[in-house]
């Protein structure tokens, strides 16, 4: 049986070709890496949202609001730092575009506008800007 969803990481092909998700999960986001990878593994095989009891909602996946409306995040708190993996669900694809963390102040590496541009690139030139989520 095939997967219900496929997760993709954003490749920063306009700069150095870095997988920005993999890079963060092996750097500052490492304390949350196992959580994120396991949540992704279970979500890949879970039925789509729709019912009140779906796993595509809190406390597994949170919808973002205001300028980030349309995006979702997966969260994990370690030692009072909240790590977040941010992406967008389109049909049966989940595009992971950036990360964030909250320690007193909220920090992420890009604006919501850049996040939207990344989604467009992942859709328009998939071979250049995206790769199936890397578990390493």
């Amino acid at each position: 049986m095939g997967k219900e969803f496929t997760f993709y990481d954003y490749i920063d092909a306009d700069r150095d070709g870095t997988n920005v998700i993999k890079s963060w999960l092996n750097g500052a986001g490492k304390p949350a890496k196992a959580r994120f990878n396991r949540v992704i593994g279970w979500l890949e095989n879970s039925s789509p949202a729709g019912s009140q009891e779906s796993v595509w909602r809190a406390p597994y996946v949170w919808p973002l609001h205001e300028e980030w409306k349309g995006f979702i995040e997966i969260r994990k708190e370690v030692d009072r730092v909240q790590y977040r993996l941010i992406g967008k669900v389109e049909n049966r694809n989940v595009f992971l575009v950036t990360w964030g963390y909250h320690k007193g102040v909220w920090k992420t590496d890009i604006t919501h506008q850049t996040a939207k541009e990344r989604i467009a690139k992942m859709n328009n030139k998939p071979e250049r800007y995206r790769i199936e989520h890397d578990y390493r």
Partner: protein, 162 residues
């Protein structure tokens, strides 16, 4: 990506001891929370109804469905298995087994059928097997029809002894 590629990726990540230990912990934390939510969904139970079955509070079910909970006791897991009427496996295994489990998740492994659901399925399959067996005998080569045609007739709804 093929399942073998993904297996290699996960295996490579497990070479890091700290990550390996976190992987085991998160597979339990995330997996049990997902399974409780998904089983409840499959059985059309609200949190309060599951709580009633267990003689507990709705807020406890909500906690158990949260991957951040992570303090499940064996007693709780056994009670949940009874409430859902499903089996429960708690085993120490090699990492290769754990990785295989992680790679082979399906809707039925995430939210397995209850005993009654399985029993009904088995009963239907027994009837289907009997019909096919009867059809094979009725339409043996000596009767002028081959077994493949007999299967097609059965599947299309033609009685086996028509």
């Amino acid at each position: 990506m093929t399942i073998d590629n993904k297996r290699e990726q996960i295996w490579e990540s497990l070479r890091d001891t700290e990550y390996r230990h976190q992987f085991v912990e998160e597979e339990i934390n995330v997996g049990i929370a997902f399974q409780i939510r998904s089983l409840r969904n499959r059985q059309n139970l609200r949190q309060v109804e599951l709580a009633d079955r267990l003689g507990g509070k709705q807020s406890l079910i909500s906690s158990w469905e949260n991957p951040d909970y992570g303090r499940y006791s064996l007693g709780t897991l056994k009670d949940l298995a009874k409430a859902f009427d499903v089996g429960l496996l708690v085993r120490f295994v090699p990492f290769s087994t754990l990785v295989d489990w992680a790679l082979n998740l399906t809707s039925d492994t995430i939210a397995p059928p209850s005993f009654n659901e399985e029993q009904s399925h088995r009963a239907v399959m027994t009837i289907v097997d009997k019909i096919l067996n009867d059809a094979n005998q009725a339409y043996s080569p000596t009767s002028g029809l081959d077994a493949n045609l007999a299967h097609q007739l059965v599947e299309s709804g033609v009685p086996s002894h028509a």
